[in-house]
Subunit: 149 residues, 2 copies
Amino acid sequence: MKISTRVEYGLLALTDIAVHSEDGGTVSSAEIADRQGISQKYLEQIMLALRQGGFVKGQKGSRGGYQLARPAEKIFLSQVLNALDNSILADSFDPDDEQGGEMREQVNNCLWDKLNGYMRRFTEQMSLADLINECKKDSSERKSYMYYI
Amino acid sequence: MKISTRVEYGLLALTDIAVHSEDGGTVSSAEIADRQGISQKYLEQIMLALRQGGFVKGQKGSRGGYQLARPAEKIFLSQVLNALDNSILADSFDPDDEQGGEMREQVNNCLWDKLNGYMRRFTEQMSLADLINECKKDSSERKSYMYYI
DNA sequence: TGCTATTCCTACAACATTGATATGAATTAT
DNA sequence: ATAATTCATATCAATGTTGTAGGAATAGCA
């Protein structure tokens, strides 16, 4: 699945802030852009969405920057993805403008709704802290993500 | 997850052909377009991809049309999706043009590759016949799709 | 043979989305 | 004051999506 840079950079920014503000300080967009090798101005737009979504707090002015608005354990990826991209976890179709009869609806229900369900459940139970902590481990022995679906 | 009409119409066409060619006859793009309420000319382009992917055989000329190239039990959705859309099941990034360091790679490995894996495994084990037969049932009691991931 | 129906193939266009860049206002620490 | 920083909006080029259009090639049928 191809993902947008907007979503990718947004998650990178959140992980960067979580990792580099452990002393309670702030992290500026210039720092993040430099560390992650991405455009600062583009990142600022993404930070806007993250702030409006309630994931970070911004402090203006000199020595300003961003902090997480709440602990990384309480930021779930489904919320972040919805704030950054309104289609990635969206239902695949709007029942209101369906015209193709029941076959169309069956295919949608059976396939896309099922895939959507997997993605939604996975991202609802995975927090930013999980993303940071678990992903550093070697994936070969992990069992914590062997979910039932 | 938003899906393209190209993928949606392609799956609709395959299910339509499977359902309406049980006597060994062919199904024309005009029939499909009419039944499913979609543009015939657009559908013809999609049928081209489905034929080139080896999922249907086309018979030209008067009284021509399409048939499945092999039984619906042997057409797996992962193959169809790849033929219709080169991003839906693709890896989320190309390692060659990664520049953002290890954090970027960790996020990709941990999140997108995992989601990709779910989608790939699900669509690899679901056939066109499954899509047709199972989706007609009421979904409340089904257990055949409670896979381990 | 000619007519019709159909697949097959290519070109193009309107529109939306993506991935930025640019500019500057507002705010804050020093 | 000045510099640093967030906050906000406008613009833009490239690309992808969703078709439309036109016609060549082929096959059945009268």
